[in-house]
C-alpha cells in the first residue's frame, strides 16, 4: 500500500468521489442559504425597496441570523400526523436534490496548479459521476424530489397540507411530460444522454443549442420553473391561497430542508439549462491567455438563477387549472411538433 491520498484522487477513486460529494453538499447548502438573501435583495430592488438592511453590513449577516433561527426553533410534530413519514419527507426533498447534482458537470476537467501544496498537479474530472445517461438521471431524481412535498402534505393531518399534496401531484403530472419532450429534441441532435457530450457537441458546432432549438429552450425553461415550484407555478405553498400548502405544519430545520432542496433544484435546473442550451463550459474559451470556461458557466448559472427571481417579481402566479391547461394543451403539442420537425431535419 504505497499509495498516498494524492494518488487516489484522480478519476473515480472513492476518495475523489467522497471529496466531491462533500464539496457539493457544503457548497450547495451554503449557496442555498445565500440564495435566499439574494432573492430578497433582488425582489426588493425590483419593487423599489431596500430589503434586509439591519443585520450586518448591507444586511449580509441576515443569512446567519436566519440560520440561527432555523436551527434553534422548536421542532413541532402535530399530534395526529403520521410521525415517521412526517419526519422523512423533508429529507427526501433535500437528499434527491443533492443526488441530482452529483451527475451534473459544472466545471471543465482541470489540473490543480503545481504551486498548491500536497494536491498540486492532480488531474480532477469535475463531474462526481459521469453517467452516460446523465440527463435522464438528473431529471428522474428531481422528479423523485416531489415526493417530499407530497408525503409532507399527506402525513400532517392538515387540510391545507392535503391541498398542497394534491397540487403537488397535479403539478408533477402536468410538467413532467413537457420536461421530457422538450429536452428530447436536443438529445436527438446530439445523439447522447451525457452532459459532457452536450457540451462537446456545442463546442464542435460553435453554436449554442438554444439557437438550434429555441422552442425546446423556452419549453424547458417553463417546465423548469414548474419543476422547482418557482413563482408562476408555485401552487404547492402559495401563502395567499393555501396558507403554506405542504409546509404548513413544518417548523425549524425540517422546514429549512425543504428550502435547501428547492434552492438546490433551482441551481440544478440552471446548470442543465446552461449546459444543454447555452454552450456550457468551454475550456478553450480564452481571455488574456487564461481559460475562462469555468467563469462563463458560473455567469450563465447565475443568470438563470437571476431569471427565476426576475420572473417572480414580474408575474403573478397562476391557478392549478391554468397550469394543467398550459402544460397539456399548449406546451405538450408544441413540444411534439418540435420533435417532429427535429426528427425530419435529422433524417434528411
Amino acid at each position: 500500500m504505497g499509495e498516498t491520498v494524492v494518488d487516489l484522487l484522480p478519476e473515480v477513486t472513492w476518495v475523489g468521489v467522497l471529496i466531491k460529494a462533500v464539496l457539493i453538499l457544503a457548497i450547495i447548502s451554503a449557496l442555498a442559504g445565500f440564495g435566499t438573501f439574494i432573492e430578497r435583495k433582488v425582489l426588493a430592488f425590483m419593487q423599489r425597496r431596500l430589503g434586509p438592511m439591519h443585520v450586518g453590513p448591507y444586511g449580509l449577516l441576515q443569512i446567519a441570523a436566519d440560520g440561527i433561527k432555523l436551527f434553534t426553533k422548536e421542532d413541532i410534530i402535530p399530534q395526529n400526523a403520521n410521525k415517521f413519514i412526517f419526519k422523512i419527507a423533508p429529507v427526501i426533498t433535500a437528499a434527491t436534490a443533492f443526488i441530482a447534482l452529483s451527475a451534473v458537470p459544472v466545471f471543465p476537467d482541470f489540473t490543480i496548479p503545481e504551486f498548491i501544496p500536497v494536491l498540486g498537479g492532480v488531474f480532477v474530472p469535475s463531474i462526481a459521476s459521469d453517467l452516460n445517461i446523465g440527463i435522464l438521471f438528473v431529471l428522474g431524481m428531481m422528479a423523485a424530489g416531489l415526493y417530499g412535498p407530497l408525503l409532507a402534505g399527506m402525513s400532517q393531518a392538515n387540510k391545507w397540507g392535503i391541498i398542497g399534496a394534491a397540487r403537488t401531484a397535479v403539478q408533477f403530472l402536468s410538467y413532467e411530460v413537457v420536461t421530457g419532450l422538450s429536452i428530447l429534441a436536443p438529445i436527438m441532435l446530439v445523439g447522447s444522454l451525457s452532459f459532457v457530450d452536450f457540451n462537446n457537441y456545442q463546442h464542435d458546432e460553435g453554436v449554442w443549442m438554444m439557437f438550434y432549438q429555441p422552442v425546446a429552450f423556452v419549453l424547458f425553461l417553463i417546465a423548469g420553473f414548474a419543476e422547482t415550484n418557482r413563482t408562476p407555478f408555485d401552487l404547492l405553498e402559495h401563502e395567499a391561497e393555501v396558507v403554506s400548502g405542504y409546509a404548513t405544519e413544518y417548523s425549524g430545520m425540517r422546514w429549512g430542508m425543504f428550502f435547501i432542496g428547492e434552492y438546490a433544484n433551482m441551481i440544478t435546473i440552471s446548470v442543465i439549462a446552461s449546459i444543454v442550451f447555452m454552450g456550457g463550459y468551454n475550456p478553450e474559451t480564452m481571455l488574456f491567455g487564461f481559460s475562462i470556461g469555468w467563469l462563463l458557466i458560473m455567469l450563465k448559472i447565475a443568470f438563470f438563477f437571476f431569471l427565476m427571481l426576475w420572473v417572480r417579481a414580474s408575474w403573478p402566479h397562476i391557478r392549478p387549472d391554468q397550469l394543467m391547461w398550459l402544460c397539456w394543451k399548449v406546451l405538450m403539442p408544441l413540444a411534439l411538433i418540435n420533435i417532429l420537425i427535429t426528427a425530419l431535419v435529422v433524417m434528411v
Partner: protein, 187 residues
C-alpha cells in the same frame, strides 16, 4: 465484490419494503414503501450495467406511483389505519397461495432449462440506450407498435370517460346534488 454487497443490500431492502406494502394497514406507509421499493429495483439494473433501463424504471415508477398517491388521497384518510373488509379468509388464502405458486413456478422454470442463452448480446461500442433501441425497433417492432396503439386507445377512452359534461359546472349541476342527498338519506 461491491456488486455482491450491493445486490444483497438491495434485495433485502426491496423485499422488506414490499412486505411493508402488503402488510401495512396504513395507506401512507404502503404507498411510500411501494415507491421506495420501485426506486430500489432500479439499483439492480445499475448493478447489471443497464443504466438506461435503471433510469427508465426510476422515472416511470416515480410518475406512476405519484398517480396512485392521488387516488389514495381521494379515497382514504392517510393518517388513519384502514379497516379491511375481509369476508372470506379461505378464499383469500387460496387465491393468494395459488398466485404465489404460479409466480414461483414461472420464475423457477428457466433454472431447469438448458436452452437459455442471451439472444441479443450487447453490441460493442454503442451505448445502453442505442442498444435497447436497436432491439426494440427491429425484433420487437410489432409488439412495440401494438403497445403504442393500446396506450392510444386507453388515452382516448380516458378522455371520453372524463370529458362528459366537462363544459358544465359541477356545482351548478342539480343532478349531482340529488346524488349527494340520496347518500345522506341512506345514512
Amino acid at each position: 465484490m461491491y456488486e455482491i454487497v450491493a445486490f444483497y443490500l438491495f434485495s433485502a431492502l426491496t423485499i422488506g419494503l414490499f412486505l411493508i406494502t402488503v402488510l401495512s394497514k396504513n395507506v401512507l406507509y404502503a404507498m411510500t414503501s411501494l415507491a421506495a421499493g420501485m426506486v430500489l429495483i432500479s439499483g439492480f439494473f445499475f448493478i447489471l450495467g443497464a443504466d438506461f433501463l435503471g433510469v427508465v424504471q426510476l422515472i416511470v415508477y416515480v410518475g406512476a406511483i405519484m398517480a396512485l398517491y392521488s387516488f389514495a388521497m381521494m379515497f382514504f384518510d392517510a393518517t388513519r389505519d384502514i379497516k379491511e373488509k375481509n369476508t372470506n379468509n379461505t378464499l383469500v388464502f387460496l387465491l393468494g397461495g395459488l398466485s404465489a405458486l404460479v409466480l414461483v413456478l414461472m420464475f423457477a422454470a428457466p433454472i431447469y432449462s438448458d436452452t437459455i442463452v442471451a439472444l441479443y448480446p450487447m453490441t460493442e461500442g454503442v451505448g445502453n440506450a442505442q442498444d435497447v433501441g436497436m432491439v426494440l425497433f427491429t425484433k420487437y417492432l410489432i409488439p412495440f407498435e401494438v403497445a403504442a396503439v393500446m396506450l392510444l386507445v386507453a388515452m382516448i377512452a380516458g378522455i371520453i370517460l372524463a370529458g362528459k359534461k366537462m363544459d358544465e359546472s359541477l356545482t351548478e349541476d342539480m343532478s349531482a346534488d340529488d346524488e349527494i342527498m340520496i347518500v345522506k338519506d341512506d345514512k
